[in-house]
Amino acid sequence: MLNELKKRLTGKTDSSGDAFVDALREAISPERVKFDGAHRALHGHDASVFDGGNSGPVVYPETTAEVQAVVRLANDHGRNVVPRGAGTGLAGGAIPLGAPVVVAVTRMNKILEVDVDNMIAWVEPGVVNLDLSNTLRPHGFHFAPDPSSQQACTIGGNVANNSGGPHCLAYGVTNAHVVALEVVLPSGEVAMLGGLDAEPQGLDLRGVFVGSEGTLGITTRIAVRLTKNRPEVRTLLLSFDSVTDAANTVSGVIAGGIVPAAMEVMDQRITEAVENYVGAGYPLDAAAVLLAEVDGLDAGVDIDADRIAQIGRDNNATAVRLAETDHERALLWKGRKTAFGAIAQIAPDYYLHDTVVPRSALAGVLEEVYAIAKRHDVLVMNVFHAGDGNLHPLLIFDAREEGVLDRVHAAGGEIITASLDAGGVLSGEHGIGVEKQKYMDRMFSGDDLDHQNRLRQGFDPFCRTNPGKVIPSGHSCADIQSLRNVPDKVWG
């Protein structure tokens, strides 16, 4: 703060007392290198429940060259680097460990080019997901991944997390929608991964970069695929007397050979909260609702919507409603996408889980989730991407209640165990970050993790980019303990 004041008065910035910070300020600009306590505290967190982050200087580059300069300076000074988008991640992937320089790409927020001939758009990593689709939509296109945080999350963050969203059921997650990436590698070199051509030569480094949670480098330009808007959409709301019936309907639809654009389930508690919050017309008396959407051409959407309705009735649906207008459809989706915001009415804190189970195991695992929550005396709500088996149990609590966090974490651990035992996986779209490192050896052997680490070190031999994430302790690039114990006064 003092520096800012001095600069305004004298036009000069004093030395921060740290050679690295001074070098960053010289390379980027004093205004876009923040080293005050407020900025560092803010960037020590993301949207997850995890703390323990410790940010060094926060830089806001505007160009690839500036990102490159930051990475090179960090290498020269032996500092680590953590890339960051909007900080909406839920697994702690953007939490800086060991006081690295945080590279916030939010000022790199331009849509550079819409190239309809190649069905792609070049965008900078700080472009907000919904802004991209809103820009493309009038031209007949959109960006298919639509995470619930899409009003805030960035495309760079979507790339890091291989983000999903309700409509990824039919269209695929981010990896299917990213064609090429310009990245600054941990070495400081700029590389183009993938390409606009049909089958770029070499190993699919683009494919592994997407979803690597910011550990393989920093994305500076992204070629995203354009998806044509569908002329016809049908949105169905099915009500059920039990979550099991809703889950069985979802399994039945997939087994019936239909891949809807989206299939989302909400249980009664969350539906009530949503209805109070947005008044979307959700039923308050149903134990579960299924929001199913099909899109495409005129005849097919009617055929598929009729079949979904029938499969719902065969599974004891108590009501089947077809959204009559675009407004009605938009309201239903608004309800679904703001579900997490609606929780605040019930309790101040929540822990949103993210596992995937085979779709045929949905009903059984959900029953277990309710039983686990009951055993640990924690309130649970379920709102999830049912179509691809992606569960999102929400554990609701008030952190001021003594001992509640222990119960929340114990319940969370058992939910993960139940999902894995049913043949599922650790995460469907939130990633591993710091949240699930300790569970990685439940899904992967030591050899499996060793190979993941070999890939990691192929990009980043010195483990300098987002260290301490994804791969659990015991493998190189993962020694969180030492990262957390930063020597005193390293950062003043």
Partner: protein, 311 residues
């Protein structure tokens, strides 16, 4: 603590394959040898092994299939077809493992999905003779680094694939090919919502429409507004050599360079009578390639002589 079913690697068939691969000496897997010279000629003294075969577990209701790498794609698709499903793997007479190692898309990838999207889980034998598992059996998964992406198209230079879980998708009610001699391929792409394939040989345009019959009829009506189309039984004969262009470039092929050609519009893939000039990777990307290869195969024993950068 009980381990996840994913951790189970005591499958005797996989263990026997791992033993056969061993941990010393140059080694390669032969499938049907349909693309045997892709990425370079195998070194002479390389020991050849074969991957296990058979469909392990097919769950149509999950839209996934677990299959050994030595199974032919044709056999796999025959089994899936009985349940009304298919995969994004191209059928060229080869094996599942071979198709994944070559990394080539089906020319109908717009309708069936790109090859890389098809692989959900992979079990391969490492250069040290260990069975490595990556990815998972569910259709959505971001648990750890996405090694299946790395393995597809790697020509067996990072590990020898033993078994995979693939995503399947439903075969649409109707699949029909049409040909036109007067409609431009660019107009075709614009006129219809989601063709499964559009081909162009410089004169004629072929389009595959798939979906519910009334929708396919309606799409055909839209096509007939831009040209005359006739129903045909399938695709034209494809020239032998594969080129990779951008979708825009593939609409403006110069036959003086490629020879006679069939361009896969929207994808950028071109089949031509001339061979594509050698491609390679350079600079920082090459350095990452070399480090990844060295990390996965420190002694260079897996498929020596082949390099995915030279495909």
């Amino acid at each position: 603590m009980v381990a996840s079913p994913l951790l189970v690697s005591d499958d005797p068939v996989l263990a026997a394959f791992a033993d056969e691969v061993g941990d010393t000496g140059p080694v390669s897997v032969a499938g049907s040898r349909t693309r045997w010279s892709l990425g370079g000629e195998l070194a002479d003294d390389t020991r050849i092994v074969t991957a296990p075969t058979g469909i392990v577990k097919y769950q149509p209701e999950e839209m996934t299939v677990q299959v050994r790498a030595g199974t032919t794609v044709a056999e796999l698709h025959e089994t899936l077809m009985a349940a009304g499903q298919r995969t994004g793997l191209p059928e060229r007479g080869g094996t599942v493992g071979g198709a994944l190692m070559a990394g080539e898309n089906d020319l109908r990838a717009l309708g069936r999905g790109r090859l890389r999207e098809a692989l959900l889980q992979v079990r391969y034998v490492s250069a040290e003779g260990r069975i490595i598992n990556s990815g998972g059996p569910t259709v959505k998964n971001v648990s750890g680094f996405d090694l299946p992406r790395l393995i597809v198209g790697s020509l067996g230079t990072l590990g020898l694939v033993a078994e995979v879980i693939l995503r399947t998708n439903p075969i649409p009610a109707v699949s029909r090919w049409y040909r036109s001699n007067d409609a431009s391929p660019a107009d075709v792409v614009e006129a219809v919502l989601a063709p499964s394939a559009v081909l162009f040989d410089g004169t004629s345009t072929w389009v595959e429409l798939e979906g519910h019959a009334p929708d396919v009829d309606a799409e055909l009506t839209r096509l007939q507004a831009i040209g005359s189309f006739e129903a045909v039984s399938g695709i034209p004969e494809l020239p032998p050599h594969r080129w990779s262009f951008t979708p825009a470039e593939a609409l403006a092929i110069d036959p003086a360079i490629t020879g006679s050609y069939v361009s896969v519009v929207g994808l950028g893939l071109v089949f031509a009578s001339q061979t594509q000039p050698n491609r390679t990777v350079t600079g920082a990307v090459q350095e990452v390639h070399e480090r990844v290869k060295a990390n996965f195969d420190p002694t260079g024993r897996l498929n020596p002589g082949r390099n995915p950068a030279n495909k």
